[in-house]
Symmetry: C2
DNA sequence: ACCCTTATTGAGAATGATTCGCAATCGCAA
DNA sequence: TTGCGATTGCGAATCATTCTCAATAAGGGT
């Protein structure tokens, strides 16, 4: 049983461009929006590549994903630790929030019902000040 | 400005069949699964109708919806009040759970950040006893 | 029981997001 | 510089869900 030959990840122009867009975004963005931004910046990347890269990044936990009205929205958060979001339905801006109590509560509820390796999702959706005053 | 003429909702065979499937399900089901069940029961209903009915039911709050891996899953819950779920990733069985503290916490966090009409989603995903012992 | 209005359905086309297949491309270690 | 193979591009293929619109059928009125 030999050692698996190391697979070397490669840094490409398109990955850098996508990470750059994510890095400067304060809101959750869809793959399509990221693609449009890239086009606008004259750094076009194929839509399929945007999806592929986003999938890789979310799988490795480098970006957070939330599902809103049928589509996946991505964001690179400041916090690498487990956290939740308060997201504006209108414009998408989001605030990273924490709720330590929830973790313990979730664990307790899970074991009380005999569930294992429990995970959870929690997101708050509302209208931010800017959007609610805007109209 | 006259009184709007009353629109009378009609009870149809297909709606009854769909509600019946939902009523006997202990797990969250996709529109496709419900459709298959109907076919199996020789109570075929067009897929579009299943989607339409499910949308109506979820809009009125009669059934709960959760999004899991890109698709909507529906379930008719016992509790009509606001609640959350502990869902098995493997088989889909779910338990209705509550967390009153969460509501107040959410409201507090929201106002602290200037957000209005905040709503939230919380679901716990894990492996139920049956599924984890099964293999 | 029979009409009639119109809510609802069925079937398939249309949409939208995301994934796939595969040849062309380009990062990078030797 | 070179060659292997990871990664991309592009269009076709999937998948879930919605829409169109003519045909059907609930149920209130007679």
């Amino acid at each position: 049983m030999g050692v698996e030959p190391q697979r070397s990840p490669r840094t490409t122009r398109q990955q850098v461009a996508i990470l750059d867009v994510l890095g400067s975004a304060k809101k959750f963005c869809s793959a399509q929006q990221i693609h449009s931004t890239l086009v606008r910046r004259h750094q076009e990347v194929a839509l399929a590549t945007v999806y592929r890269t986003l999938k890789t990044l979310s799988d490795s936990g480098e970006v957070d994903v939330i599902f809103s009205e049928g589509e996946a929205l991505y964001r690179r958060c400041k916090s690498v630790e487990h956290h939740h979001h308060l997201v504006c339905r209108e414009c998408g801006v989001s605030v990273e929030i924490e709720n330590p109590d929830l973790e313990t509560w979730a664990a307790a509820v899970a074991s009380a019902h005999g569930f294992e390796s429990v995970d959870h999702t929690l997101e708050l959706y509302g209208t931010c000040r800017r959007c609610s005053s805007g109209k």
